[in-house]
Symmetry: C2
Subunit: 246 residues, 2 copies
DNA sequence: TGTCCGGGTTGATCTGTATCAATGCGATCC
DNA sequence: GGATCGCATTGATACAGATCAACCCGGACA
């Protein structure tokens, strides 16, 4: 979650730039992977996996945004991960989904059946190494989010999310933050609320307040302008800038 | 966090049963590990690492309890991990601590200098495999905790923590839950509060309420009796029992 | 035996966020 | 153009949990 997408070698004839799978592969390894991979696309809102149900594939996200959620039967829902291009879905060695996975935009996945993928992994220690690095990065991100959920105010949460989105340069086209600090939100207010442990009303109110305070400008519902990124960071409640250089 | 400690081969002459490091090692590998390991003990309350400062060792917990925390300068603190015997501290490939690590009881660590440990790892793929499994287990646990922090009520949080402690059989002596459902809390109310994203007053009040409702009995401050574990689980807000068999 | 001290409990009150309810607003479809 | 629908905003009110404050209790120590 907390990793910037850098330019990576492509997976053979594949448009995907898997951080996990291809970053350090030799050409013959990429070919072997290509032989067992297949693509799958989902429409916005479509369910990809349900907690507890068998999931015999792993996948990298090629294009679009998906969410990982945990929820309680009474309807309470918590988003536990936001999946963006080059993120990895699925856990080697486990055949059941641990989370509900849902496409929030149109989504393209590069999939592998679990078994053959695991067999290939046997001879590709660097892929397992990458998977470990990614899991540890995800763990750090999850723990940062625990601080947010446990201790931050609504205003700090919203600011943190906006800052995160800017840092990850989340845009439907996969582009980098423009010079004017314009950000396209890839998610609805409801998704934001579920990520932040708030209600949609609180999200809406806090966005309005940040606008009135001049921290952000709203351009339509889904576009946010950030005139002064430092001012936004000052609202996040974090001590530092999280290692960003701006 | 979410792993039961099973009997494991010991690390040569070492009393520790590292899940991560020793579980699948050959005798000669254990010897190699033994040659570079060293023990360190800490008093309750002592600081083991501080976020952002260099940490040139990794370690397994042999005995005692430690916490991982993230905090904000203004004093707000969130516990992001509870470390118990056989848990692993430190991340291969990273030389700075990401969290504050503190001993909450008297603590014994089995340490390795990072460099030589990483070099040994080169030839022990099964250790890296174990580290990946553990990281993914931790990630699942962290995400479960996100649901708790984002969406559960105070009563549900307390119940969840008690249930977790029972499941992990957390006791100073490392023993297993007794037949009468007696649990020793290894942590203070303040630590509980920081884990649950609550205040100590709320923790105290909810414990009192659970006692009045007959879900638990308090025996002194640190011992809790659970007459009916199912009744406690019903208070956690979780749909299922998390795969426990009782 | 009294004092101190750290941790825990309990009470009164405050407040940030949830909840309930109404309204706005743009897109789509007839 | 009007009806409809999904999403977002805004307002009024309720309430869970925080905050502030007092008190309790057991152990250490003089």
């Amino acid at each position: 979650m907390a990793i910037a997408s850098a330019a990576l070698p492509e997976c053979s004839d594949c448009p995907i730039r898997h951080r996990a799978v291809c970053a350090r592969c030799e050409p013959e390894e990429l070919d072997a992977l290509s032989r067992i991979k297949f693509y799958k696309t989902y429409a916005a809102g479509q369910t990809i996996a349900i907690r507890g149900e068998p999931l015999e594939t792993v996948a990298s996200i090629v294009k679009g945004t998906a969410t990982l959620t945990r929820s309680i039967e009474d309807g309470r829902t918590q988003l536990v991960g936001l999946l963006l291009p080059s993120d990895f879905i699925g856990r080697p060695g486990r055949s059941e989904a641990q989370y509900d996975v849902t496409a929030v935009t149109e989504l393209t996945l590069c999939c592998f059946h679990r078994r053959p993928f695991e067999e290939l992994l046997e001879d590709m220690p660097h892929v397992r190494e990458r998977l470990l690095e990614m899991a540890l990065d995800e763990l750090d991100a999850a723990r940062d989010w625990m601080l947010l959920l446990g201790r931050k105010t609504a205003r700090e949460r919203i600011s943190s999310l906006l800052a995160l989105i800017v840092k990850r340069s989340i845009r439907p086209d996969g582009g980098i933050l423009g010079d004017k600090g314009r950000v396209e939100l890839p998610i609805t207010r409801e998704t934001m609320a579920n990520y932040l442990g708030l209600t949609i009303e609180t999200v809406s109110r806090q966005l309005t307040k940040l606008r009135k305070d001049g921290i952000i400008q709203l351009e339509g519902k889904r576009t946010i302008l950030i005139p002064d990124f430092g001012a936004l960071l000052a609202e996040t409640g974090d001590d530092d800038d999280g290692g960003m250089i701006f």
